[in-house]
Symmetry: C2
Subunit: 343 residues, 2 copies
């Protein structure tokens, strides 16, 4: 028997809130028999949606493992993190994170405001020793399988030291999750040559190289993110967010071009019918929604960020990610690695 | 009859040098009867390749319009721009740019070191009044047709004022090339809300808004590059280079996944045969090589940068781009616009 795992969900976060999160929760409970969930949000909103979702399923085994924790406020997507920190003590996001801080849940999942999630996570859970800021990491499809990339939007003004910390955390996560003994680390830049790039990456490259203990491969370029040339791509949150969203944008453009090109004639529609399973295979490898669930690394607790626009299936992937991180005690692994590198 | 146009080519630049550039030149002369070309590089290397390429074609009409200008040195891809400026006075790149500065050519095309091209361009051709640095701009495929994006790698440490200058130049170029009266300008950021982003983009957004005269739409995100939400995407060269290369990387990943998925069985190979023209159509819309030819804006002369890995067809697109910019007197248009905005 596996140990029981309790996860707190910010049930009001994201573009669709409870409409997506509650059905995803019920499905996750069916997938993970050891899982219990705490839905955090406005009880009056959540109760009817939960009742409706449970109504479709054999009651007790599921219903007993999901509870509502009331929180009256919601943090909006355009709210400043500093404001969220000051004014939203009773928000669903803050309460969900607090449950982790208080030991009442082992992880928290939110599809809400990324900046607020980082600020509240840092405030409630505290940073691991030696880490200044949380970083957002996610798996990226590559020609070799997957790579990991961080930071993806939490830190828009990073120092070279922060990039070094990201490299250490990314290396540990990739070792823990993928079982790669010495993950290859690359630093994202506009060229591979030593003299290329801005002052921040040049200094960071020197720090990562001097740090030792990391399998550092030097600079990598934007297209290397998807070749599998390295296992971990390190960058600041500004560049990482834009690189990832640009890639999603071009993938969507190719998808929409395909739909219109494939429907232009009867023969083409027949071809599309034949090609559908092939294109489906490719989509399932490339589609970022398939790996929805980015982790906030560097906190003394597990926080998983779902895409704001995630549908129920995708939000379910984020819950699965939280379950996996609890099972492997990810913050503990990072902490042990940091300590071993100091000693 | 159209006026004659003379273009200087850095015949030694790029990954393949004369092997690609000379055949591309001969083809360009066939496409453009008003064109003459000056091939700049080591005469002993260029002469035999040129003779061989000309040998296949009816001689005089083409051969009379292409001449070799000797330059003994080559600027390597990993050379620092400052070094290129100091030591490579007799390089093919420097000589090609000098021909423009001396009025012996109306434009220059190079597939060589981008940083060196910018430094030498700035040194020989000088900047337009009111512009501090050249920016690299290129057309990007979008759901609406094309957008333009700048800067793409020339400027890795930009100020907010530089981003404002890029916005002005991008707007003028898009009006000149695409005939859009008031091109919509977007500033690339990690979110659309006013409070998102680093200090540089927040300040730049204020400057562009206050400047007036531009159809400024505010912040856009990475995926907006390809939706056609704006006509011009403005960003610093570090972010722009990485966003563009990431997009090329994911497009290549999708392409390689398709090739392997479509060849997995006999039925799939038949499907691939049916789908080939459709996929070709999509590729020709998306493929960055189709629009090879990025322009250095802000100089008092025309410099077009070809991708270093361009093949002969793609280098030809870069020559076509230079021909088009000469025809529309792009630097003159930008200068007039800058003057009208001051007055």
């Amino acid at each position: 028997m596996s140990d029981s795992i309790c996860i707190a969900l910010d049930a009001m976060g994201g573009d669709f809130g409870p409409r997506v999160i509650i059905p995803a929760s019920v499905d996750a409970l069916k997938r993970h028999p050891q899982l219990t969930l705490k839905l955090v949000g406005q009880k009056s909103v959540l109760s009817p949606v939960l009742e409706k979702s449970l109504g479709k399923h054999p009651a007790a085994a599921i219903a007993d493992r999901i509870t509502i924790v009331n929180a009256d406020n919601i943090i909006a997507n355009d709210e400043k993190p500093s404001y969220a920190l000051r004014k939203r003590g009773d928000s669903s996001m803050f309460r969900a994170i607090s449950l982790v801080a208080e030991g009442q849940a082992q992880a928290c999942v939110s599809a809400g405001n990324t900046g607020a999630l980082m600020a509240l996570g840092r405030f409630s859970l505290k940073m691991l020793p030696g880490i200044d800021r949380p970083a957002i990491i996610t798996a990226i499809p590559s020609a070799q399988g997957v790579s990991y990339m961080l930071d993806l939007g939490a830190n828009v003004d990073c120092s070279a030291e922060h990039l070094l910390q990201f490299a250490v955390m990314g290396s540990v996560m990739t070792r823990a999750v993928e079982g790669i003994e010495q993950p290859r680390i690359g630093l994202l830049n506009v060229g591979e040559e030593e003299n290329k790039g801005n002052e921040q990456v040049k200094l960071a490259s020197r720090l990562i190289r001097e740090h030792g203990g990391l399998n550092y491969q030097g600079f990598v370029e934007g297209d290397d993110i998807f070749t599998g040339k390295v296992d971990v791509v390190v960058c600041d949150g500004f560049v990482g967010n834009i690189a990832l969203k640009s890639s999603e944008g071009v993938a969507r453009l190719i998808g929409s071009q395909m739909r219109s090109s494939f429907s232009a004639s009867l023969l083409r529609r027949f071809t599309a019918w034949l090609a559908a399973p092939i294109l489906g295979e490719i989509r399932s490898h490339i589609d970022p929604a398939r790996r929805n669930g980015a982790s906030l690394l560097g906190l003394q607790g597990i926080v998983v960020k779902s895409h704001g626009a995630a549908n129920s299936t995708c939000f379910g992937f984020a819950i699965d990610q939280a379950v996996a991180e609890v099972s492997m005690d990810l913050p503990g692994s990072i902490n042990r690695e940091l300590e071993s590198q100091i000693n």
